[in-house]
């Protein structure tokens, strides 16, 4: 009963608070990466098809849980400034991505053993 070779394992890592609410995961991480590129939370949200209000809310929820700011406002420009990642956000993103890669590699290896005959 070998499974289809088409099937692959996907690993998702999230940070949950004491009530089990999602505070940081793939969505916020992708949003922060877009902010880094677009230098604007509104543009980042738009490029992901996410409402600006939701983008603002999930960034704020993560900041509240983590205890530090992820975005800093930048001043100037025609549109009244934008957003940049704080140093803490860069460190968080780096740690999250490294952890995700390491855990995914480990999971894939173990998956091959557990699911060899499934």
């Amino acid at each position: 009963m070998n499974h289809s070779p088409d099937l692959r394992l996907a690993v998702t890592l999230r940070l949950l608070d004491g009530e089990g609410q999602r505070r940081f995961g793939p969505g916020v991480a992708a949003l922060l990466e877009e902010v880094r590129e677009k230098r604007s939370l509104r543009a980042a949200a738009g490029s992901m098809g996410m409402a600006y209000s939701k983008a603002w809310r999930i960034v704020r929820a993560a900041e509240d849980a983590l205890g530090y700011k992820l975005l800093s406002s930048t001043i100037g420009g025609r549109h009244g400034g934008g957003a940049a990642l704080t140093a803490e956000a860069e460190a968080l993103l780096g740690a999250y991505q490294a952890l995700r890669e390491e855990v995914s590699a480990y999971a894939l290896q173990r998956f091959g053993e557990y699911f060899r005959d499934l």
Copy 2:
């Protein structure tokens, strides 16, 4: 900038098909566990607040991707029979849970190192 000690890491494992569609993960696994207990897909879906049509659909999608049946019909009883897990479903659930526990333990250990100062 130590993160709140309230935050904990959650690991989710899913099987995706060639198009990136979710075929097996926490939802189907929990549903199968309920079927094992309730001996009925309809009762299992109900206990999870899931529409029967959705329960049927996600089980079928998983079966199609895996290439084997997860549920077998049982005959008899006042309500015209129920459902049981196939041997393949039991093996799949066992492998999925063991993999999840092992990957979670590994992730937690690595999380402590990566996020010690975040």
